[in-house]
C-alpha cells in the first residue's frame, strides 16, 4: 500500500514560490486501478511526481508498505517498485528503444516484441530506432508506456497515457491496462481525462486547485459527465467574423 499523509508541495515558479499541492491524503491499495482526473493545472502530475520523488514535499509523509520513503531519492524509489510514465516524455539523442527497455528491465529478461506489441508498435520497426526528435508525439508516448511495462512494478503511475494515441491503438492500450491489472497486483494510477479510461477505475480521484476535491467511484463521475453542459449558453450571441478584439456578453 502507498500512503500520502498531509502532503504539501511548493514549487518555485516565475513569481516566486507557489503552493501546488495542499494537504494531500491518499491511500492506494495493491491490485486496484485509480484514475486521477480534474481540470488542467489542478495538480495531478504534481501528485504523481511527488510519489516518484521528482518533487519534494515541504510537509507530510509518503509510505510504501509502511516504510517511510519521504526522503528517498528518485532512484531508490524506483528500486522499491515505483514507476512513472511522464506526461511529456524525454527524448534522447543516441539512446535506442531497445536500450531504454533494457535499462528499465534491469537484470530481468524481457520480451521486447511483446512489450512493444502491447503499446501497439512493431518491434522490427522500432527496437533499433533512436528516441530522438524524429519520433512523433504518439510514438514517444507509447515508448514511455513501454518503459513501465518492461519493469516489475508495485506502483505504476501513467500520466495521460492516451494523449496523442490514435483511436485504433486506444483499444489496445486499455486492454494492456486490464491485462496488467489481471496479471499482477500492481497499484495502477492513471491520470486521464478519457471516459474509456475512467471506466477502468475502481476509484476515481478528483484533483482541483492543488487539493483532492473528491474520491469517488466511476459511476458517479460518468453520470456527471453525461449531464455536463458542453458549451456556453451565450455562444449564439457571440460576435462573428474578423474582429480586433473579443468581448464576452455574459
Amino acid at each position: 500500500m502507498l500512503e500520502l499523509i498531509n502532503i504539501d508541495v511548493e514549487l518555485e515558479g516565475d513569481n516566486g514560490w507557489d503552493k501546488v499541492l495542499n494537504d494531500i491524503n491518499l491511500s492506494l491499495e495493491r491490485n486496484k486501478i485509480y484514475v486521477m482526473t480534474g481540470p488542467n493545472g489542478g495538480g495531478k502530475s504534481s501528485i504523481a511526481k511527488t510519489i516518484m520523488g521528482i518533487h519534494k514535499p515541504s510537509r507530510g509523509k509518503i509510505l510504501i508498505d509502511g516504510i517511510d520513503i519521504t526522503d528517498m531519492s528518485i532512484s531508490e524509489r524506483a528500486r522499491r517498485g515505483i514507476g512513472y510514465a511522464f506526461q511529456t516524455p524525454a527524448r534522447f539523442k543516441g539512446l535506442k528503444v531497445k536500450d531504454l527497455l533494457n535499462l528499465a528491465a534491469g537484470e530481468r529478461e524481457i520480451d521486447h516484441c511483446e512489450i512493444l506489441y502491447n503499446v501497439g508498435l512493431c518491434a522490427q520497426d522500432y527496437l533499433d530506432r533512436e528516441i530522438n526528435s524524429t519520433f512523433s508525439g504518439g510514438e514517444l508516448k507509447r515508448i514511455e508506456i513501454a518503459s513501465l511495462l518492461a519493469r516489475q512494478i508495485k506502483v505504476a503511475l501513467f500520466d495521460e497515457p492516451e494523449a496523442g494515441i490514435d483511436l485504433w491503438s486506444f483499444q489496445r492500450l486499455t486492454e494492456t491496462f486490464i491485462n496488467l491489472h489481471q496479471k499482477s497486483d500492481t497499484t495502477l494510477v492513471i491520470i486521464s481525462h478519457q471516459e474509456r479510461i475512467l471506466r477502468l477505475a475502481d476509484v476515481v480521484i478528483m484533483v482541483e486547485n492543488g487539493r483532492i476535491s473528491e474520491i469517488t467511484n466511476k459511476d458517479k463521475i460518468l453520470e456527471e459527465i453525461s449531464q455536463l453542459d458542453t458549451g456556453c449558453e451565450h455562444r449564439d450571441n457571440c460576435g462573428k467574423g474578423v474582429m480586433e478584439y473579443a468581448d464576452c456578453i455574459r
Partner: protein, 306 residues
C-alpha cells in the same frame, strides 16, 4: 613481435583482435613492422619521406585496409605521410587510427598526414580512432591532417573518433568534392581533465550536385577545451548540412565556429550548432528506471557519443 600492450592498443584503435583480413600495415614506434598486400591492394613504402602509398585497383569490391599506428615509447615524435589512391568504382573500408601508450614523463606525438584520391564512382569508408593511455604524465599528442579529393560520383564516409586519453589534438581535414560526389562525416570527441582538442573541417563543394553532411558530437568535461571550426563552401549547385552538437560539463569550454559560404546561387547550405548541458529531463527519466544520477549521466553521454 606484438606485445600484449600492442595488441590492446590495436583493439582500441582498429578493433583488430588478431591479424586482420585483407591488406594491412601496422606501424609501431615510427616504423612499419608488419605488412600484407592483397591481390587488389598494394602497399608501398615512400622513398622520399616516412609513410606509405596505398594503391587500390579500380573495381575492387568489399575489401578492407587496416593501417593502425601504435606508439609505446615515450618522447617519440612520429610524422608519417600516407597517400591513398582509390581506383574508380571500387568499394573499400579503410581503418586507420593511432594508439599511444605513454608511461613516461616526456611528450609523445604522432602527426599523420593522409591524402586520399577517391576515383570516379568509388565508395570509401574511412574510420579513424584516436586513443591514448599510460600512467605517465608525459603528454599524448595527435595532430592528424587529412586531405580528400572525391571525383565524380564518388562517395566518402568518414568516421573520426577520439574518446579517450589524448591530451592535445589539432585535427585538420580538407575535402574537395567534384560533380555529384557525396560526403558524410561523423565526428565524435570526448575531452576531460585539461585536455584540449581542435577540429577544423573545410569542405569545398566544387562540382554540380555535390553534397556534404557533417555530424559532429562532442562531450567536454572537467577543465577541457574544444574548438570546432566547420566550414562548407559551395561553388556550384550543391547541398551541405553541418550539425554540431556539444554537451558541456564542469568547467569546460567549447567554441563552435560555423562558416557557410556560397559562391553560387544554387548552393543550399545549413549550419546548426548547439552547446548545452545534459538535459535534466533525460537524467530524471533514467533515474525513474532505477539508475543513480551518475549512472544516468554516463548512459546519456555514452548514447550521445554512440
Amino acid at each position: 613481435m606484438l606485445t600484449a600492450l600492442d595488441k590492446k592498443l590495436l583493439v582500441e584503435v582498429a578493433d583488430i583482435h588478431d591479424i586482420p583480413q585483407g591488406a594491412y600495415n601496422i606501424r609501431k614506434n615510427g616504423e612499419g613492422i608488419i605488412r600484407n598486400n592483397s591481390a587488389n591492394i598494394e602497399i608501398i613504402s615512400k622513398k622520399d619521406k616516412p609513410g606509405i602509398d596505398i594503391l587500390i585497383k579500380p573495381g575492387t569490391k568489399n575489401e578492407s585496409v587496416h593501417i593502425p599506428v601504435i606508439i609505446s615509447e615515450e618522447g617519440l615524435n612520429d610524422i608519417v605521410y600516407n597517400t591513398f589512391k582509390i581506383g574508380t568504382n571500387s568499394d573499400v573500408l579503410i581503418v586507420a587510427g593511432c594508439g599511444i601508450h605513454n608511461g613516461g614523463s616526456e611528450k609523445t606525438q604522432h602527426d599523420g598526414v593522409h591524402e586520399f584520391f577517391v576515383g570516379k564512382g568509388a565508395h570509401m569508408r574511412y574510420i579513424e580512432k584516436h586513443y591514448g593511455e599510460g600512467k605517465g604524465d608525459g603528454e599524448r599528442v595527435l595532430n592528424p591532417k587529412t586531405i580528400i579529393h572525391v571525383e565524380e560520383d564518388g562517395v566518402v564516409e568518414l568516421e573520426m573518433d577520439q574518446i579517450k586519453g589524448v591530451d592535445y589534438t589539432i585535427r585538420d581535414t580538407y575535402i574537395k568534392l567534384y560533380r555529384n560526389a557525396r560526403l558524410i562525416v561523423n565526428e565524435k570527441l570526448l575531452t576531460y581533465l585539461d585536455q584540449s582538442a581542435e577540429s577544423k573541417i573545410v569542405v569545398e563543394l566544387l562540382g554540380e550536385d555535390a553534397s556534404a553532411q557533417i555530424i559532429s558530437r562532442s562531450v567536454a568535461k572537467d577543465d577541457s577545451k574544444q574548438v570546432f571550426y566547420l566550414s562548407l563552401k559551395g561553388h556550384s549547385k550543391c547541398r551541405g548540412h553541418i550539425q554540431c552538437d556539444s554537451i558541456i560539463m564542469d568547467r569546460a569550454k567549447v567554441s563552435a565556429i560555423p562558416e557557410i559560404v556560397a559562391h553560387h546561387s544554387g548552393a543550399q547550405l545549413i549550419h546548426e550548432a548547439a552547446i548545452g548541458k545534459i538535459a535534466s529531463d533525460q537524467i530524471t527519466k533514467l533515474m525513474t528506471l532505477g539508475l543513480s544520477g551518475e549512472e544516468a549521466e554516463e548512459t546519456i553521454l555514452q548514447g550521445f557519443l554512440g
